[in-house]
C-alpha cells in the first residue's frame, strides 16, 4: 500500500538543527569507541598473561677470544654427525623395564642401553627433558637454537616458519659451507631451515623431505628415510651433518597409543635402524651418532602438554672413538644442553641465543678432564652473558650477573677447574631458571585482570543496551553527560593503577587495568541519571543471549573447537527453524508466505555455508578439504572458478531483487549494483582465472606477462573498491530514489464529477512521487556495504569469494525476515547477534580454521610481487577477518532496512542514530561475550593437553574477532551518522 501523500516544504532545513544533528552523530560515535577501547585493554591484559612470547635476537655468534686462551682446552671435535631424530621417542622406550612391567614398548629398542653398558666410553643414554610446549616445531627450534621457544616468537618473520636466529645448523652451514648437509624425513625441517635442502653431491640431491601431516600412515616416511640414508652413509665425504627424522613412532602413538603391538613393531624397526647405523660407523672414529626424541608422549600417545611422559624424551650418543666419561643410566639433562655440546663436538661457536649448558660426560671425556669441562662451561657462560647484556628484559637482575663475575674471578685466580665449572654451571642454571619464569609461565593475575575487564565491559554493554532503548527523550544529552564521567573515571583509574602498580612492580598491568575499570566506574557513577526503563524482555532477546552461551560453551572442549564450523551451522539452522515457526505465526497470509520462504532460504544457506572447508589436522580422517583443487595444493579448482563467475553475475541480480521489494532499485542503484558491482566481481573472477592458468604447470602461457596482467587487474580493483567507491559514496551520496511527476488533472476532474469537492481542492494539479522513499536509508547504506563487500571479496580465494557472496545473500535474507517478523523493533539485539554468529561461520567457509597455519599468507602477494606494507596488510586483514568486518558493517542495516526518512523531524533523525548505536552494542555484546567465555575457558584449561594446539589459537581468533567486529561497528556507526545527516540534508 503506497504511503499517503506527504508534503515537503520547499524551505531549507534550519541550520541550527543540521549542525546539532552532526554534533549528535559524532557524540554517538563515542559509545562504540569506548567499548572497543575496553575490549582492547581487556585483550591486552589477558594476552600479556597468556600468550608467552620471547624476543629473538638476530645476532650470530662468533668464536670469542676465550677460544684462543691458552688455559682453554676443548674436547677433540668430530668431522661428521649423524642425527637420528625419532619423533616422540620417550625415555622409557630406550630404558629398562623397571618393576616387572611388561608393556609393549619396553625392552624393544634395546641397542642404545646395551651399548652404553658394554662400552660406556663410547655410548651413553640420557633422560632428555623437553620444555613444554612439547610440539615438534617448538622442539626442533629448541634443539637447534638452544632457547625456549614459546607459542609465538615475537621476532619470527613474516610467514612464521623459518628460523632466523642463530642455530648450530646455521653455524655448521656457515663454517663448513652450504650444502654440506644431508636430510631425510619430516619436511618441517626444511621450512625451518630452507638451506638444508642445498645438500647434494655432484648432481644428486641429498634432501628427501616427507609430509608429516598424515598421522594415519605409519610407514611411508620411515621406510623412505631408511632407504635414503644408507647410500648417504656410505658417501661420508660428501656431508658433515646427516639428519634423519623418523615419524612412525609418533604416528603409532597418536593412532594406537604407546602400549600396543603396533608400537612394538615400530620400535623394533627403529632398533634395527640404530643397530645398522652403529655398525655402519663402527670403523669411523670421526663420526658422532646422536639418536634423540624431540618429546615423549602421554599414555594415550598424544603430546603438546607438560606431563611427565611428554617431557621425558630419550637421548643416545655414540661414537667408535672413546669420548665420554661413563655416566649413570638415569642421567638427566635438558634438551637445550645438546646445543652447546654439539657446538663443541662439531667445533663451531655456541649459538647466540643458547640457554643450555654443556653435557658434562661429553666434555669431561674418558679421562675426566675437568679443565676441558671448565673451559666449555666458561665459553657457554660467556655466550649467555653476552646474550643477557643484549637483551633489555634482563636489566635489573644483578644478582645473577654477580654469580658470573664470581666464576670469572675464580677462573682468573685458581686452577681448581672442578669448582670453576660448578660456578659457571650455577650461573647457567640460574639464568635458565629466570628465563623459564619470564617466558614459560602463565601470568594468572594478568589473565584474571583481563577477564574482569571483559566481564565488567560485558555488564556495562548490557546495561547500556537495556537503558538506551529509545524511550530516552534526547539520548545525545545523556552521552554528553556520561562522556566526561567516563573520561574522568578512566584518568583517575589510570593514576591509581599506575601508583599501586608501581608499588607492586606490576606497572603495565595495573595501569591498563586501572584505566579500564576506572572508566567503567565513571559510567556506573553516571547511571543514576538514567531513567528507569522497564521495557519487557522479548523472547528473541533471550534467544540472542542464549546463543552467546551456546556458542561460548563450545570453547569448553577441544572437540567442539575442532568441529566449530559444523556446530555453528547446527546453531544457525536451529535459529532458521525458529524463524520458520515464527513465520507461521504471522496472521497475514501473504506476509506469512514471504517469511516462510525466506526462513527456508536462510536454513539452506546456513547448511551450505558449512560446506567449503580446509580441514585442520585434528579433523582427519573425518573431513575432506574442498577449498582447493586438491588437499595437497593451494590452487583453486576449475569448478570453483566457474561458480565464481556465476556468482559475479547472479549476486547483483539477487541484491536487485531485494531492492525491488522496496521499489528502491532506482537512482544510483542500477549503476552501482547492476553495473559496478558486476564488473568488479567479473574482474575478480578474471584475476583468479589468470592465477589458475599461471599455476598450471602444463600451460604454455607467457607466465611473466600473465603476472603483469594480474597485478594490473588487482590494483585497479583495489583502487576502485577500497578508495574509489567509498569516496564516491561520501561525495556523491548515491540515493536510490527516483522522482516522478504525476499529472493529477484526471483525478481532479473525476473528483469534481463525483462531486467530491474536498478531494478536488486538496489535490494539486501536479504532484511529485518519490520512488524508493520507504527504503531511503537502507538502500543508501547498502550501496556502501556492497562496495566494501567487493573489496573483501577481492582479497578472497575463489571459493572464499563465493562464500562471501553467500554471506551477503544470507544477510539480506535475514534483513527481510527481520522486517517481516518485526524483529528490528521487537528485539534490536537478535539480528545483530545472528549476523555476528554468521560471521564466524563464514570465517570457516573462506578456507580458514582456528589455527595459525590456516592464514592464507599467499594473498599477501595479491597486489604486489614483494611485501609492500599497506597493500600486503590490507590484503591479509581482509582475507582473514573479512567476514567479521562485513558483519560489523551490516549491523546498521538492521535499523536502516526499509526505513523511510521522517522529514523535518530532527528528533526522529537523532532517534535513528540512537537505534544504530544500540544495534551496534548488540553485536558488541555478542562479540565481547564470546571472547569473555573463551578467556574463561582458556584460563580454566590452561594446563590442558591441547592448550597450544587448539585453545591458544582459538583464543587468538576470538581476540581478532572481537577487535574486528568492534572496529567495524565503529566504522559503521560513523557511516550511519553520515547517512543520517545526509538524508536529513535532503529531506529535512
Amino acid at each position: 500500500m503506497p504511503r499517503s501523500p506527504r508534503t515537503i516544504p520547499a524551505s531549507s532545513v534550519p541550520r541550527a538543527h543540521k549542525s546539532q544533528l552532526k554534533h549528535a552523530t559524532r557524540i554517538y560515535l563515542l559509545v562504540p569507541v569506548w567499548f572497543l577501547a575496553l575490549h582492547l585493554l581487556a585483550l591486552v591484559l589477558f594476552a600479556l598473561g597468556f600468550l608467552l612470547s620471547r624476543p629473538i635476537l638476530p645476532d650470530i655468534a662468533v668464536k670469542s677470544a676465550s677460544y684462543s686462551n691458552p688455559d682453554v682446552v676443548l674436547p677433540r671435535a668430530f668431522k661428521r654427525t649423524v642425527v637420528i631424530l625419532i619423533d616422540a621417542l620417550r625415555h622409557d622406550f630406550i630404558g629398562t623395564s623397571g618393576d616387572g612391567n611388561e608393556a609393549y614398548y619396553l625392552n624393544v629398542l634395546t641397542t642404545p642401553l646395551m651399548l652404553s653398558v658394554s662400552q660406556p666410553e663410547h655410548a651413553a643414554v640420557f633422560k632428555f627433558i623437553a620444555d613444554p610446549p612439547t610440539t615438534t616445531l617448538q622442539r626442533l627450534k629448541a634443539l637447534t637454537t638452544g632457547s625456549l621457544p614459546t607459542f609465538i616468537d615475537a621476532g619470527s618473520n613474516f610467514n612464521g616458519a623459518e628460523v632466523t636466529e642463530d642455530s648450530w645448523i646455521g653455524q655448521v652451514l656457515s663454517s663448513r659451507g652450504d650444502g654440506r648437509t644431508a636430510f631425510a624425513g619430516d619436511d618441517t625441517w626444511l621450512s625451518l631451515f630452507p638451506s638444508l635442502s642445498h645438500g647434494a653431491y655432484g648432481d644428486r640431491n641429498l634432501t628427501f623431505p616427507y609430509e608429516s601431516f598424515n598421522v594415519w600412515d605409519l610407514h611411508t616416511v620411515d621406510s623412505g628415510v631408511t632407504s635414503h640414508i644408507w647410500p648417504v652413509l656410505e658417501r661420508r665425504d660428501d656431508w658433515d651433518v646427516l639428519i634423519a627424522h623418523y615419524l612412525g613412532v609418533d604416528h603409532a602413538g597418536h593412532r594406537f597409543g604407546p602400549d600396543t603391538p603396533q608400537m612394538k613393531e615400530k620400535l623394533l624397526e627403529m632398533d634395527t635402524v640404530v643397530k645398522n647405523v652403529v655398525n655402519a660407523i663402527k670403523d669411523d672414529d670421526e663420526t658422532l651418532l646422536v639418536v634423540l626424541g624431540d618429546h615423549g608422549m602421554d599414555e594415550k600417545g598424544d603430546h603438546g602438554g607438560d606431563s611427565k611422559g611428554e617431557v621425558e624424551a630419550g637421548l643416545f650418543l655414540y661414537s667408535s672413538r672413546p669420548f665420554l666419561s661413563p655416566v649413570d643410566q638415569a642421567e638427566t639433562i635438558n634438551q637445550i644442553d645438546l646445543v652447546p655440546t654439539l657446538s663443541f663436538l662439531l667445533d663451531i661457536p655456541v649459538p647466540f641465543n643458547n640457554l643450555g649448558s654443556p653435557i658434562a660426560a661429553a666434555m669431561l671425556g674418558p679421562d675426566r678432564n675437568f679443565q676441558q669441562f671448565a673451559s666449555a662451561c666458561r665459553i657457554v657462560a660467556e655466550q649467555i652473558h653476552g646474550y643477557r647484556s643484549h637483551h633489555p628484559s634482563f636489566e635489573g637482575t644483578d644478582e645473577i650477573t654477580e654469580i658470573y663475575s664470581a666464576a670469572s674471578e675464580a677462573w682468573n685466580t685458581s686452577k681448581d677447574y672442578e669448582r670453576i665449572s660448578e660456578l659457571y654451571l650455577a650461573y647457567q642454571k640460574q639464568n635458565l631458571k629466570t628465563c623459564r619464569e619470564m617466558w614459560a609461565r602463565f601470568d594468572v593475575p594478568s589473565m584474571v585482570a583481563g577477564i574482569v575487564v571483559f566481564l565488567a565491559s560485558f555488564g556495562t554493554l548490557i546495561v547500556f543496551y537495556a537503558t538506551f532503548d529509545g524511550s530516552l527523550e534526547c539520548p545525545s544529552d545523556y552521552l554528553n553527560f556520561l562522556a566526561p564521567k567516563i573520561g574522568l573515571g578512566g584518568l583517575t583509574g589510570l593514576a591509581v593503577g599506575a601508583g599501586l602498580g608501581y608499588l607492586q612492580s606490576r606497572l603495565a598491568i595495573a595501569t591498563v587495568f586501572g584505566l579500564a575499570m576506572g572508566s567503567i566506574l565513571g559510567f556506573i557513577k553516571g547511571m543514576p541519571r538514567f531513567p528507569n526503563v522497564k521495557s519487557p524482555v522479548s523472547k528473541w532477546t533471550v534467544l540472542a543471549l542464549s546463543s552467546i552461551i551456546l556458542h561460548g560453551i563450545l570453547f569448553a572442549s577441544n572437540s567442539y573447537i575442532v568441529w566449530e564450523a559444523r556446530s555453528l551451522s547446527f546453531l544457525l539452522v536451529s535459529f532458521g527453524f525458529t524463524l520458520l515457526a515464527a513465520s507461521f505465526r504471522l496472521p497475514d497470509t501473504k506476509l506469512r508466505a514471504t517469511a516462510v520462504f525466506h526462513s527456508l532460504v536462510f536454513i539452506i544457506q546456513s547448511r551450505i555455508a558449512e560446506y567449503p572447508r580446509v580441514c585442520r589436522e585434528e579433523q582427519l580422517p573425518f573431513c575432506t578439504s574442498n577449498f582447493y583443487a586438491s588437499t595437497a595444493s593451494s590452487v583453486s579448482s576449475l569448478t570453483a572458478l566457474i561458480i565464481l563467475f556465476v556468482t559475479a553475475v547472479t549476486l547483483p541480480a539477487i541484491i536487485r531483487s531485494f531492492l525491488r521489494m522496496s521499489a528502491s532499485y532506482e537512482g544510483s542503484a542500477p549503476l552501482w549494483v547492476g553495473a559496478g558491482l558486476r564488473v568488479v566481481l567479473l574482474l575478480v573472477g578474471l584475476y583468479w582465472t589468470l592465477d589458475y592458468v599461471e599455476a598450471d604447470p602444463n600451460s604454455q602461457a607467457h607466465v611473466e606477462q600473465f603476472k603483469m596482467y594480474k597485478y594490473v587487474i588487482s590494483r585497479i580493483l583495489f583502487g576502485v573498491t577500497v578508495v574509489g567507491a567509498p569516496l564516491a559514496w561520501f561525495r556523491g551520496f548515491p540515493l536510490c530514489l527516483r522522482v516522478e511527476m504525476a499529472n493529477n488533472q484526471q483525478k481532479i476532474k473525476q473528483a469534481v464529477q463525483n462531486g467530491d469537492m474536498d478531494t478536488a481542492s486538496k489535490t494539486s494539479p501536479v504532484s511529485v512521487e518519490i520512488i524508493g522513499f520507504g527504503n531511503t536509508y537502507g538502500s543508501l547504506y547498502l550501496l556502501l556495504f556492497v562496495s566494501i563487500f567487493a573489496a573483501v571479496s577481492l582479497c578472497m580465494k575463489p571459493v572464499g569469494g563465493i562464500a562471501m557472496a553467500g554471506m551477503v545473500y544470507q544477510i539480506l535474507t535475514l534483513l527481510e525476515l527481520g522486517d517481516v517478523l518485526e524483529l528490528f523493533t521487537i528485539s534490536p539485539i537478535v539480528t545483530p547477534t545472528v549476523i555476528a554468529l554468521m560471521s564466524t561461520q563464514y570465517y570457516f567457509a573462506t578456507g580458514h580454521q582456528a589455527t595459525l597455519a590456516s592464514i592464507q599468507w599467499d594473498v599477501a602477494f595479491l597486489f604486489t610481487e614483494s611485501i609492500r606494507p599497506p597493500l600486503t596488510h590490507i590484503a591479509l586483514i581482509f582475507n582473514t577477518l573479512g567476514p567479521f568486518i562485513l558483519a560489523g558493517l551490516a549491523v546498521p542495516l538492521t535499523v536502516f532496512y526499509k526505513l523511510s526518512p521522517s522529514p523535518r523531524d530532527f528528533r526522529a533523525s537523532e532517534a535513528i542514530m540512537g537505534r544504530v548505536v544500540r544495534a551496534g552494542t548488540g553485536a558488541m555484546i555478542y562479540a565481547g561475550g564470546l571472547t569473555l567465555t573463551n578467556c574463561v575457558m582458556t584460563v580454566i584449561l590452561r594446563r590442558h593437553l591441547m592448550v597450544w594446539k587448539i585453545f591458544a589459537p582459538r583464543f587468538m581468533l576470538a581476540g581478532a574477532t572481537v577487535i574486528a567486529i568492534d572496529l567495524a561497528i565503529v566504522a559503521s556507526t560513523f557511516f550511519a551518522g553520515k547517512a543520517i545527516a545526509g538524508v536529513y540534508d535532503v529531506f529535512g
Binding site: 500500500m1 503506497p2 504511503r3 575442532v562 496472521p587
Partner: protein
Amino acid sequence: MARIKSTPRQIATPSTPTSPTPVPYKQKTHYPENVITSSALLAFPIVTVVLSSLLPSDPVKILGYSLPPVALIQAVNILFTNPVPEPVAKSSGNKKKKKAKSTVSTTILGLVLSMLLTPFIHLIYVLFGAPVTVSLAATFLLSAHTALLALFPILCTYPLDGVTWTNIVALKAPVTPAYTAALGTIAGAWLGAVPIPLDWDREWQTWPVTVVFGAYVGNALGRLFGAVLGGKEKKL
C-alpha cells in the same frame, strides 16, 4: 506538493488482529484409563533402554528391525489413549462402534502418512548437518523412527486442515500428550546431536545412536509432561 510512494510494509504498521483462530479443535478430551496411559508411558523408556543398549553394535540393522514393533506400540498407544469424542447422550451402540472404527482408520491413515513424510524428515536431518552422501540408510531409518514418534500421534490427533497445521508448526496448537511428545522428540533429537563431536571414541557416538536415544527419551518426557497437563487446553 509531493506524494510519496512507499514500500508495502512499514515498521509502524500495526499488525491487524486477524490471526487465525487458534483453536478450531473443539473435541472435548478426556484422558481415561490411567492404567493404559501409564503403561504407554512405561513402554517408551523400556524401548529406549533396549534400543540404546543394542544400537551401537549395528545401528542400521537394529533400527530396521525395531521399526515395526515401535509402529505397533505407537498404534496401540494411539488407539487407547487418543482423545475420544465424549459419547453423546442419545448415542446408540451402533454409533459408538462407528466411532471406534473411524479411530482405527485414522490410525492407519496416520501411520501411512507419517511413513510417507519420512523423506521430508530425512531432509530436515540433512539440513541440521546429517551426512548427505553416506550413512543414508541410518539417517533414513532415524527419520522413520522420528516420524513414528513425533508425526504419527499428531497426525491422528489433529484434524488435517491448514489452520490447525499452521498452528502446529507455529508452536501454538492446543496442548495434548501427542503434541508435547512430538516437541519432546524434536528437543531430544536436537540435544542428542550434542555429544557426537566429542573425541571420546565411544561406540555409541556413531551416527545416529545418540539422536535416536535423545528422540526416545524426549518423547517419553514430552508424553509425561502432556499427561500431567492432561487435557487442559493450554497454549504453549
